[in-house]
Structure formats: structure tokens, C-alpha cells
Amino acid sequence: MTFLKILWDNLRKGPSTEAFPFGEATTPAGYRGKVTFDAATCVGCNMCEHVCAAGAIRFAEADDGLHFVIWHNTCVSCGLCAYYCPTKAIKLSNDWHLSHLQQDKYTQLDHGVVAYKRCTSCGDKLLPTGSVLTQLAYKGPNPRAERLMDLCPECRRKASTRGEAI
């Protein structure tokens, strides 16, 4: 009897079916979907690659900079990369539209290049530190530190011995 009442209520309330795929589906803002990468804030610490259980993230050094690749087809969206990223260059969007045809399997990736800077003193290439990290480290702008960051480690050492250190 209890169940007949449930059926009657069901009939009365009408279908509870979502409009999707004929309409839009609702997605919570915090849904852990496709990973996004911002090369401008990345400091190349490789922490994301280190914590990624599925091996979805790869850093590779090239002439023009540090290449970051994430392959969505092996990403488990656990969010550890975003959690441990010191500058939050890596984030999880709530985009879940990832279905694709088999021929596109190996193109489901995002790619970013953290471009090398040139040392202002000797012209050697070096990885930019990123303003977010400086903000974190010095709790505010610090012109002397920022000048040092334009130098390669070798020139930095020389600058320090010359007494330009902080």
C-alpha cells in the first residue's frame, strides 16, 4: 500500500528527468573537471608532476622554455596538483565536456610554455620566478629582489658577493 501511494505521487509529480542532452545541464561551480594551466604564473617547480598519480602531467625542457603538457585522457581530476601548486598556476575548471571520438584520443591535451628569460647581465637563459611567488615570499613588492630575479644563478651569486644582496 505504501508503495502504491509512492507510485501515485510519482504520477502526480510528473517526470523528474533532466533536460540534458536536449537542454543545458547544471554544473556545480566546484566540480572538478578539466585542468587548466596558466604559463604566466608557473614557476616550474614540478610539484604538480610529482604528486600526479596518473602521470598526466609532463614537464620537458626545450630551447624556448619549459614545456608543460597535461593529457586529459589520464587525468583523474583528484585536484592534488592544484592543491600543492604554490602559485596556483594550475586549476581545475568545472568543464566536463570531455567526450571525444577515438581519432582525437591523442589530441586531448593542454600545452603551455613557461618561456625562459634572458639574464640581464650575461644573457644566459633562466626560468622566471613569477610575481605570485614573490608576493608569497616577501608579502609585497620588493624591487631589489625583483632585480635579482632577472639574473641567472651565477650572476646572482656574483651580485650577492658584490653586496647587492638583500
Binding site: 602521470g55 603538457v69 593529457w71 589520464t74 591523442y106 591535451l109
Partner: protein
């Protein structure tokens, strides 16, 4: 719920009975964590009988290979009303250990498991077939001596990324 001092006493009484190392600690809820390392693997059966007499339940058997020392360890984890007692036995590679199935029935699958994953034999058992490992996989996969390349048949991350990079360059 539990009178922790009695559990502690019970574990202590077992510890006095056997030869080997022993340590015990108690948490703020009065649950005991005890570690017993048996000096002689033949004491295992007697220890199990003593634990059984104190209403212990076998919760797990862990086998592990010691990377450097070249021997295997078997750790028998018991539960007494929420407290944990671990009995450890050292075994040289390829050695055998007595089955405790006659005392703790649920040891059956655990014993089958460590026999297929490690170079450990178990005596006094009837069913010695493989439990989880497929016949196509070489046994003793958890022994650290076997390198990944020998036993892995899946695609490796490096292979996949090589493919990803070449596909991207083609475009």
C-alpha cells in the same frame, strides 16, 4: 566499553611467554597497539593459540620484503576488542611457515595471497592455487628483485607521452 588495562595485561602475558622483541603503547581512548617480533618462527603457532584464547581476531597478514637485509617479514595483525596486536616473523628467502588456518579460519586467503606474491611457502594447507594473479603473470611480483620492465605488460607513461608529442608535432 572495554577495560583497556585487561587487554594490556593479556598482551603482556603473551609477551612474557614468547622469546623476541616487544613494544606496547596506549592511545587516549585506551586502545592498545602492541608489536611482537618473534625470535623463532616456530613460536608462531603457540602465540596464535594464546591470542585465540584471549578472543583475538585475525584481521590481516602482511608480507613484506626487506630491501636491504635480504629476508622477508610476515606481520600477523590481530584485533582484540579494538586494540591491535601485530606479531612479526622473519623469514629468509624461500623459507616456509606453518599455516594458521586451523586456528584462524580467515587466514586462508591471506596465506594464499602471500604465497603467490612473495617467495614464501606455507605448510599444512590443502588449497595452494593462485588467488588473484593470472597465470600469464610471473609469480612473486612483490619481491623487489624483479624489475618493472620484466613483469609489466601495460603501456607505460613514457610510451604514451612519446605518442602524444609526435601526434602534436604532426599537426
Amino acid at each position: 566499553m572495554t577495560d583497556a588495562s585487561t587487554i594490556k595485561d593479556r598482551v603482556m602475558s603473551i609477551a612474557r611467554m614468547i622469546r623476541g622483541e616487544f613494544s606496547i603503547s596506549e592511545n587516549r581512548h585506551g586502545r592498545v597497539t602492541a608489536w611482537i617480533t618473534l625470535a623463532d618462527k616456530d613460536d608462531l603457532i603457540a602465540t596464535c593459540h594464546a591470542l585465540k584464547a584471549f578472543d583475538a581476531r585475525l584481521s590481516m597478514i602482511t608480507a613484506l620484503a626487506d630491501r636491504n637485509a635480504g629476508f622477508n617479514l610476515l606481520a600477523y595483525h590481530f584485533d582484540i576488542e579494538g586494540s591491535t596486536v601485530t606479531v612479526k616473523v622473519k623469514l629468509v628467502s624461500g623459507a616456509s611457515i606453518d599455516s594458521i588456518v586451523p586456528i584462524f579460519r580467515n587466514a586462508d586467503w591471506h596465506e594464499r595471497e602471500f604465497m603467490e606474491f612473495y617467495d614464501i611457502k606455507c605448510t599444512g594447507r590443502t588449497d595452494n592455487r593462485r588467488l588473484f594473479l593470472d597465470e600469464s603473470v610471473d609469480g612473486r611480483v612483490m619481491e623487489r628483485l624483479i624489475p618493472l620492465s620484466v613483469i609489466s605488460n601495460a603501456a607505460s607513461t613514457n610510451m604514451l607521452f612519446e605518442r602524444l608529442i609526435t601526434d602534436r608535432e604532426k599537426q
